[in-house]
C-alpha cells in the first residue's frame, strides 16, 4: 500500500464531511474514525518497512526556481516514522474519544471535519520531503489549530484565543519563511535528503547559515510555544479538550521540535545557533514549570506543563541530544495526551475546570483516576514509567555535552514538574468533594482510549531503556550507539521527582492550609507565577498597543496627509480655476456679453415693428416686393 494513502485518507474524510456533513450528521464521526484508523494501519506498515531499513522517498516537481526544482513529496525515515506512529496512533485514539466528548454539539460534523483536516496536515508535515512543503503543512496545521481553538466561536475568549494563536504562530512563521529563503540561498536546496551532516558541514562557518538556522528556529519558537511566543498556548485551552490533547499537547506543538530535529545537521553545524536554541529551551522549561505551580484551571496547568516539556525537548536538541529530544517527544505525546483526555473526562464528569471546585473524584471516576495516576507518574519521571526514561536521556545529553547550568536548571524543573503534577492529582481526585454537581464516570467510548493510552504511557518508555538495549535511540540515529546509563543522573532525577511528590503531598494532603500561608508569605513569587510574569499584560501594553497605534496612525496619516494632499491639489486647482473663471466671466465673456447686449438693445428697438399681426407683415411684404420690383425694372 502506498504511503500516499496515509495523509490522503483523512483528507478524503475531511472533504466528505465538509460537503456531506448535513446528511451524515452523527455518522460523520465514524467517517473520521475509520479514516484515521485506516491511515494508522497503513502507516504501521510503512513504519515496519522503515524498521526493516527501507526508507521511502517519492517526490514531484512543484515549481522551478532558478531552474532548481522545488519538490513536493513523501519521505519516510526513522524520525518521520516515530512521528508518524505518534500522530496516527494518538490521533486515532483522540478521534475515538471525541465521539463521546463532543456528543450533542450543534456543530458536531464540522468538528470531525476539522480533526480530519488536521490529521491530513499533520501527516503531510511529518512526511514532508522539502522545507517548502513542511512550511505549507506547517501553516495548515496552524490553520486547523485556529479553527479548533475557535470552535466555540460564540465565546469571545475562544475567538480571541484562536486569533492570538494564529498571529503568534505567524510571527514565528515569518522567521521560518525567511529562514527557508536564506537557507535556499545559502545552500541552493530545500530537500531534506540533501541536508546531511557532510553536506552542511561543507558550508559551516558562513554567517548566513547561522542566520538561517536561527530564523528557522523562529518557526519552532512559534509553533512549539517557546519563550517569548509561548503566550498563545495557555489561551488555546479555550478549544475543546480533545483538541487540546491532540493539537496542543501531543502533535502540532511538537512539530517545532520535529522540524528542528529534521534540520539537526544544520543546527549541529552552527554551534552559536545551537547555544541559543538550548538556552531558550531551558528557560522555557523552567519558566513554564514555574507558572504551572500556581494555576487553578486544570487545563492551564497542563498547558504550562506542555510548554515546559517542549522546552525540555528543544533544550535537548540544543545540547545535541537529537535522539533524546525525539524520544521525549514520543513519550510526552502519550502521557500528555492521556493527561488532557483525563482532564477532559474530569471536565465532562464534573462540569467544571477549576480545580478548587473538584476534589474527591477518585471514587466516582475510577478509570479516569487510575489512568491519570499512570500519566502523572510518567510526566513526573517516576521509574519505570515512560517519562523517566526520556527525561533521563535529555539530562544525560546535557551533562554529556558539558552544559552544567542547563543540566541543573532542568533538574530543578523536573522537581517542579513533579510537584505541580501531583498537586493537580491531589486537588482533583483526593480530599472531599467540593463540586456542586454529582460527578459521573465517562462512557466507554472515552475510557477505552484512556486505557489504551495509559498502557502506552506506562510502557512506551521501555523502548529506550537499557532492557531494550536503547532500541529507539539506535533506530533514530540510524546506527547502534553505545549509551551508558549514568547512575548519577538517574539517582538525582529520581530524587528530584520524589522531592516534588513529597512537597505536594505535604501541601495538599497533610496540611491543606499550608499553600495559602505560603502564598501570603512569598506573595511576590506567588503573584509572579500566577500572573505568568505579567507577560500577557506586557505584550498588551507594548507590542499590541503599538501595533494598533501604528495602524490608527497610518490611517490618520492616510486621511490627513496623503488624501488631504490629493484633495488640496484638487481644491487649489478649483481655486485657480475660479480666478480664471472670474477673468473669463468679466473680461473675456464681458466682451462677448457686450456684443450680445448691443444686439439686444437693437432688437428691443426693432421689435417694435414686430407687431405680431399678420396683415402688417403682409403689408411689409408687399412693400418689399414693390421696392425690389422697382430696383429690377430700373436697371
Amino acid at each position: 500500500m502506498n504511503p500516499l494513502l496515509i495523509p490522503l485518507l483523512p483528507l478524503i474524510s475531511f472533504a466528505a464531511i465538509i460537503f456531506f456533513g448535513k446528511w451524515l450528521k452523527e455518522k460523520s464521526a465514524w467517517v473520521a474514525v475509520s479514516a484515521s484508523a485506516l491511515s494508522c494501519l497503513v502507516s504501521f506498515k510503512s513504519i515496519g518497512e522503515v524498521i526493516g531499513g527501507r526508507n521511502f522517498h517519492e517526490a514531484f516537481t512543484w515549481i522551478l526556481i532558478n531552474r532548481i526544482p522545488i519538490e513536493f513529496g513523501i519521505s519516510i525515515d526513522p524520525l518521520a516514522a516515530v512521528m508518524l506512529f505518534v500522530v496516527t496512533f494518538i490521533g486515532t485514539m483522540i478521534v475515538v474519544y471525541s465521539v463521546g466528548y463532543m456528543h450533542g454539539d450543534p456543530r458536531y460534523p464540522r468538528f470531525f471535519a476539522y480533526l480530519s483536516l488536521f490529521l491530513f496536515s499533520m501527516l503531510g508535515l511529518v512526511l514532508s520531503s522539502t522545507l517548502v512543503q513542511i512550511y505549507v503543512f506547517w501553516e495548515l496545521v496552524g490553520l486547523c489549530s485556529y479553527f479548533l481553538i475557535g470552535f466555540w466561536f460564540e465565546k469571545k475568549e475562544a475567538a480571541e484565543a484562536g486569533r492570538k494563536a494564529f498571529i503568534a504562530n505567524r510571527i514565528g512563521d515569518i522567521g521560518f519563511f525567511l529562514g527557508i529563503i536564506t537557507f535556499f540561498y545559502a545552500t541552493g536546496t530545500m530537500r531534506f535528503v540533501d541536508i546531511q551532516p557532510e553536506f552542511i558541514q561543507a558550508q559551516a562557518g558562513s554567517a548566513i547559515l547561522t542566520v538561517s538556522a536561527l530564523l528557522l528556529f523562529c518557526g519552532a519558537v512559534g509553533k512549539s510555544a517557546q519563550f517569548p511566543l509561548h503566550v498563545w498556548l495557555p489561551d488555546a485551552m479555550e478549544g475543546p479538550t480533545p483538541v487540546s490533547a491532540l493539537i496542543h499537547a501531543a502533535t502540532m506543538v511538537a512539530a517545532g521540535v520535529y522540524m528542528v530535529a529534521r534540520l539537526f545537521p544544520l543546527f549541529h553545524a552552527c554551534p552559536e545557533a545551537s547555544q541559543i536554541v538550548a538556552g531558550i529551551g531551558t528557560w522555557t522549561a523552567f519558566m513554564a514549570a514555574f507558572f504551572a505551580l500556581t494555576q487553578m484551571d486544570i487545563k492551564k496547568v497542563l498547558a504550562y506543563s506542555t510548554i515546559s516539556q517542549l522546552g525540555y525537548m528543544i533544550a535537548a536538541l540544543g545540547v545535541g541530544g537529537m535522539t533524546a529530544g525525539t524520544f521525549h517527544l514520543m513519550t510526552h505525546a502519550f502521557f500528555k495526551a492521556l493527561l488532557f483526555l483525563g482532564a477532559g473526562s474530569v471536565i465532562h464528569g464534573a462540569g467544571v475546570q477549576d480545580m478548587r471546585e473538584m476534589g474527591g473524584l477518585r471514587k466516582s471516576m475510577p478509570i479516569t483516576f487510575w489512568t491519570f495516576v499512570v500519566a502523572t507518574a510518567a510526566i513526573a519521571g517516576i521509574p519505570p514509567f515512560s517519562g523517566f526514561w526520556s527525561k533521563d536521556e535529555i539530562l544525560l545529553s546535557a551533562i554529556g555535552s558539558d552544559h552544567r547550568i542547563i543540566f541543573w536548571i532542568l533538574m530543578i524543573t523536573a522537581a517542579m514538574t513533579s510537584f505541580y503534577m501531583f498537586r493537580l492529582l491531589f486537588l482533583t481526585f483526593f480530599g472531599e468533594t467540593r463540586g456542586k454537581r454529582a460527578p459521573h464516570e465517562s462512557p466507554a467510548v472515552m475510557t477505552v482510549p484512556l486505557i489504551i493510552l495509559a498502557i502506552g504511557a506506562a510502557g512506551i518508555g521501555l523502548l529506550g531503556s537499557p532492557w531494550a538495549h536503547h532500541w529507539i535511540q539506535n533506530f533514530l540515529a540510524g546506527h547502534p550507539e553505545e549509551i551508558q546509563m549514568n547512575s548519577f543522573v538517574a539517582t538525582i532525577s529520581i530524587a528530584a521527582s520524589a522531592i516534588g511528590l513529597l512537597i505536594a503531598f505535604i501541601f495538599y494532603i497533610l496540611n491543606p492550609d499550608l499553600p495559602k500561608r505560603f502564598a501570603k508569605k512569598y506573595w511576590l513569587l506567588y503573584a509572579a507565577s500566577s500572573h505568568k510574569l505579567w507577560m500577557d499584560e506586557m505584550y498588551q501594553a507594548t507590542f499590541i498597543r503599538w501595533f494598533k497605534q501604528i495602524a490608527r496612525f497610518s490611517f490618520k496619516f492616510d486621511e490627513a496627509v496623503i488624501d488631504r494632499t490629493v484633495n488640496e491639489v484638487g481644491r487649489k486647482t478649483v481655486w485657480t480655476s475660479k480666478i480664471k473663471n472670474w477673468f473669463d466671466q468679466y473680461i473675456v465673456d464681458g466682451l462677448v456679453n457686450l456684443t450680445g447686449r448691443l444686439t439686444q438693445m437693437t432688437g428691443a428697438v426693432l421689435r417694435l415693428i414686430q407687431t405680431g399681426y399678420i396683415h402688417n407683415y403682409l403689408f411689409v411684404l408687399l412693400l418689399g416686393v414693390l421696392i425690389i420690383g422697382y430696383a429690377v425694372f430700373n436697371t
Binding site: 402688417n616 403689408f619 408687399l622 412693400l623 414693390l626 420690383g629 422697382y630 425694372f633
Partner: protein
Amino acid sequence: MTTFGPLAAISCYAALLGILTVAILTVTVRNLFHAAIFLAFTLLGVSIIYFFLRAEFLAGIQILLYVGAIMTLVIFAIMLTSRIGDPQVPQSNRQRIPVFILIAISAFFLIGAILKASWKTISTLQTTNAVELGKALMGEFVFPFEVISLVLLIALIGAIVVARSDP
C-alpha cells in the same frame, strides 16, 4: 390677337368689368356672408372668361370646384365663426389707406409694364380639349400630377387633424 364678333366682344368687356366690380365688392363689403356671395359671382365670372377663351373644360372645373366645393367650405366656415353681420364690428383694419396707396402704385407700374411690353401673340386662338389635357397630365406632367395628388392627400389629413376638436 383674339377675334370675336362685336357683340361677343362687348359682352366680354362687360363681363370683365362686372367681374372686377364684384371682386371689389367681395373685398370691401362689411357683411362677410355677402362677401362670400360676391366671391361666388366673381368665380362664376372667371369661368365665363374661360368660355370666351375657348377653355371649356377649365370653365367646367372652375364652376364645379370653386363655386361648388370651395364656396361651400367658405360659407360653412363663416357660419361656424359667427359675429358676421354685426355692423358694429369693422371689417377692415387700419392700414386700409396705406394699402390702397401701395396697390395703386402697383397697379400703375403693372399696367404700365403690361402695356409697354410687346407680346408675340399668334393670330388664331389656340384651343385644346379634355383628351389632350388628360394626355398631358398622364404624360409629360405625370410627375407633378402625382405630387399634387400627394399634396392633396396630405392636406386632407392635415385639415382633419387640425380641425379635430380634441387633440
